[in-house]
Symmetry: C2
Subunit: 734 residues, 2 copies
Amino acid sequence: MRKFVLLCCLCFCTMHLFSLTLKSPDERLLLSVDVDNSGCPYYKLESTAGSLIAPSHLGYVLKRENPEKATDFEYRTFAKSETLEQKQDLFSGFEIINSQKSSFDETWKPVWGEESEIRNHYNELLVCFHQEKNDRQMNIRFRLFDDGLGFRYEFPDQKSFTYFVIKEEKTEFAMTDDHKAWWIAGDYDTQEYAYMTTRLSGIRGKMKDDITSNASQTPAGETCVQTSLMLKTDDGIYMNIHEAACIDYATMHLNYDEKTNTFISHLTPDACGDKGYMQTPCHSPWRTLIVGNSGADILASRITLNLNEPCKIEDTSWIHPTKYVGVWWKMIVGGAHWSYTDAVNSVKLNDKKLNGVLQSATDYSTAEPSGRHAANTENVKRHIDFAAEHGFDAVLVEGWNQGWEDWFGHQKDYVFDFVTPYPDFDVRAIHEYAAQRGVKMIMHHETSSSVRNYERRLDEAYQFMVDNGYPAVKSGYVGDIVPRGEHHYSQWLNNHYLYCIQKAAEYKIMVNAHEATRPTGICRTYPNWIGNESARGTEYEAFGGNTVDHTTILPFTRLIGGPMDYTPGIFEMDCSKIDPNNKSKVRSTLTRQLALYVTMYSPLQMAADLPENYERFPDAFKFIEDVPVDWQKSIYLEAEPGDYITIARKDKNSENWFVGSSVDENGHLSEIKLDFLTPGKKYDAIIYRDAKDASWDKNPQAYKIEKHTVTSKDKLKIKSASGGGFAISLMIHK
Amino acid sequence: MRKFVLLCCLCFCTMHLFSLTLKSPDERLLLSVDVDNSGCPYYKLESTAGSLIAPSHLGYVLKRENPEKATDFEYRTFAKSETLEQKQDLFSGFEIINSQKSSFDETWKPVWGEESEIRNHYNELLVCFHQEKNDRQMNIRFRLFDDGLGFRYEFPDQKSFTYFVIKEEKTEFAMTDDHKAWWIAGDYDTQEYAYMTTRLSGIRGKMKDDITSNASQTPAGETCVQTSLMLKTDDGIYMNIHEAACIDYATMHLNYDEKTNTFISHLTPDACGDKGYMQTPCHSPWRTLIVGNSGADILASRITLNLNEPCKIEDTSWIHPTKYVGVWWKMIVGGAHWSYTDAVNSVKLNDKKLNGVLQSATDYSTAEPSGRHAANTENVKRHIDFAAEHGFDAVLVEGWNQGWEDWFGHQKDYVFDFVTPYPDFDVRAIHEYAAQRGVKMIMHHETSSSVRNYERRLDEAYQFMVDNGYPAVKSGYVGDIVPRGEHHYSQWLNNHYLYCIQKAAEYKIMVNAHEATRPTGICRTYPNWIGNESARGTEYEAFGGNTVDHTTILPFTRLIGGPMDYTPGIFEMDCSKIDPNNKSKVRSTLTRQLALYVTMYSPLQMAADLPENYERFPDAFKFIEDVPVDWQKSIYLEAEPGDYITIARKDKNSENWFVGSSVDENGHLSEIKLDFLTPGKKYDAIIYRDAKDASWDKNPQAYKIEKHTVTSKDKLKIKSASGGGFAISLMIHK
């Protein structure tokens, strides 16, 4: 691997060809912007070591021009916009009419995060383009940080350009070589694919392998991948392409054009194939490129958060990072059911609002229980006891509400009501029991992707939560979207997810949305958006298994946008112990499961395994009990996508540190300097490491726990097994 | 015209070919049902005079079979329904496994209506079909009344058939000859076409002429027409095809197959082209055929209401038939604006819930008013005064709320909030002023067809109405539907309209929905659904003019499903008097405008013209002041579609009668026996009739008012002008 040579005084060779340039605050990155011969805006990005993004076009194809302004008279005569000339071009004939440079440097404090203070430092270039033939103005705002670039399209208020429909955004990221890439298939409805590691030229060949069956899926193209996309050059430069603040806009994919070695933006369409309804003044999300000399640089970047708006919630006192257990894993593996009965063929829920629609409502009070319903009062109380005894904040319960007998695969419109429990789930008794034991409940709203039904019931559902002691909700979007034809990541749905977040904030409710759009840092603005799934989580370990290197890639991809509710902490790797029919093996050693509480940053962390499995390994479980979920500082000790990640984090509320390391199937020897510890202080270290004979496939539960007293001068050398890892707690010595 | 011969003992010639038959209570209609050689259900309908509906098939084409029941395990493994064999056939292989006959006879009292008591009397035949190859059960329930037939498909709860998607319903109505028909073009998004009068063989030729431009339109096919479809045979039999109780199902059109001389049902698709998502147990709406010997028989039929469920609202004390004036016609004609300002290019409304979406909100407080905004406090108070002085119940005001500057044609998602008035509309002051004068306000909710936005704001909007003295709302659905790709009459939208009605009932709000699906008698079940537009209303008189015979056809077509808010009462026919640019002429004489309050039944009647126009004709205006909006009894004195309609109605709350007559461009001489009056009583008759030289095009305001004292033994002979008509009030002589 060649080094990223720092030559601050380097003369950028093509600088003179571009009208406008901008340097990063440390002057190591250089952005150039201009219009080409056809009047198409373009840009390139260089570092002092060479080109990062080759000249790349910017613009849009529109479905139609803004229809002439509708007046009262048009209402009367119904003059139709279709009679107007369709001017679709937003990529040629532009000239630069103005530009502004500015600088920004501030340090802000997130409500929760990987660190308690974040510096937002960039130089900005606003370029104003004018398209004379249509008299349209389009600005592009570039922000160049030391660790990368963000830019977005802005459409100011203007007389001749008010409403437009995006046929496609045409933002290019021209590659300079056949880089190595970590990617998943572009898809409008699922992000739950396994990561592929190929050269760019290998994307097409591996696409079909990547597209495995899912509950809802619409692959986006033969060379189309999702963001965030992790890249590495042969020169050892690490790059990451994603987006920030995707609000009222469709989620972006990247279509790889092999002929030009260029990624081109590809937005998620609506039911009509349109990609965005826009009204000036408005802007796109930020398109981001993080650049670094190491994997650690990528993980340390705060570009995604910095490009989002500051917190819009004034009182955030009710937002708490949360560690929880739940009635969940046993159902995922197959040892219990979400549903209450096998005796009901077709569920129709009663509803005073819709009593005209229904012939009859399902009567659960007379239906024979299957005996395998997990969300029963007794079992929930057992989990509350376990949470209280081991210091967990909360208990999640799935399958508590009526409708699980036929919720999936039918695109049912009225599928759940979110307020009616099964007969064996006593909401009041559970509420009181949890309150007595100092444990909060986490609500579960599986929408079955029927979003109209969910929005209609949202106020009532949130009020029900407030009334019954549920300060947080896990929402789910499994299956094809209703309204039918819409996609999980379209403008319409992205608008829906944020609507729920905003409404939840009114009720002081935290939201953890599963199967929703991958995050783009909006949690800075709405920190009650405390979690997302949006990738293959631990559940896939019970659906055949995740790839062994999965957790060494996720922090470079899915987590670039925000935290993931990965639900780690599985101690029993053999799923057949729970359901004899389930032959899946969790592809991880036990200590790597501990490490994930550190390496997979989230303010919401589950201990996903069954209480009885934790009770079998109380010494290892101690790490999960000890590890915090909010941090003062994070140090990325070593990180190579697909190989290993080792991170040290300092508790937000104490001087204690925690280290985690997750490694791939090849194992890894970590050599760690503890120089991040406060000099002069002593720490009690507990090291949870793989035993010598451990491996994910043969001996995953073989671990060793060591205790030492250490200082900042110490170094540790720890060997992780295949699919293994380690965890360390470093508590101030008293 | 040959007479409908009554031969009660006639031996129906093809009776022996069908397994099952059913006679109407009076034995004049005979229904026959069987399966054909391929196992397709079919039926025919005969009267004692001959065949009405020739043998016609019944069934469905499905998009796919019900996917195998999704279990928890399938959730885990994501087994896909697509792997299943797609069995699409619901029209062959059936056998009749059971049938049941029954009779029903009751008299019920509508909350409001054309009469205070309605008899519901029919013989019923339930036929149970079984499709062995797919083990599916489908029942068809036939109800045969003296005046026609209703039938619907029913799908009982069954193990092997739970969820299915309708590709098309294939209900046939086979014609026996090339009948005369009154029709408008089938369209998924508008019902606002002018009626065509052709033979069946002439439908194709006139289709293009009928499809005039509209704010949202998706024509359904070259020979596809809407229901209700009015037909007349050369034998003088009148028939009408429509549907009843269209709930959670797409609206039906009729596709005319010229080769077989048969109408085939054609449902409104969703954004994916699917026509219905069904879950057993469930059923279709009723398909109805009204039959009579005269046009009057068709108008007198109560089949549509009788096939709907009884009222589901327990306390109906808050539902009041309403006569109203409004701030409306001047804007329709072009003399005033809904919008407040010309200075705003692009409206973005503020919203605490969506403050993340918006860059900035439109500030109306600083925008220069256009000076043409009609919904200002002063003008509204003037209308309140007028309403109070002339005994109207309520005042409608359109254009009161922010957003009208760019509401139309852009498919804006967040287009209105329904609670924020323009600066010159003082909600509290108007509320207090109206309350003092004993006048109610009618709210206006133009949704711009953005139904997600409307549903999100519905609770707040209805609460705002309750808080500000608005017991009724006129809702509007102008423009293409958002969610984009959906249609005005799809299952999704039909579900939406009813959702609004049901939610409105919770707030004790009456709803008058414009541009919504044509009614199918659901107002029996939800009598707060007090009005609908769903056809070309009076507003088209200002958009170039309705055809002269329009109001002689509407009662045979649009009104078969329920009342229409036609907004009659225009006294100034020359639109240029309001807006010099508007060259439209109202195609009616003044007295015909009076007649419409009787001939166009509605519990909601507007006096649509400007107060100053009424003040010019106080003698004629007296009829509008006097005419009630709720009835004890209705007598259809003479009625020929496209030619003339004369109806007498008795006030629900007195012994007074009112007569109206509307005639086409040929004029008409009416000879009326007053034998409907109570014998022995004297009545003061005021006759409002066309002057001798009156005509809609030359002299529309020429009328004559005559006063007589009459009894049940009297006869009246009244000549109506071209496009004319008359109105009579018959008050008990004191």
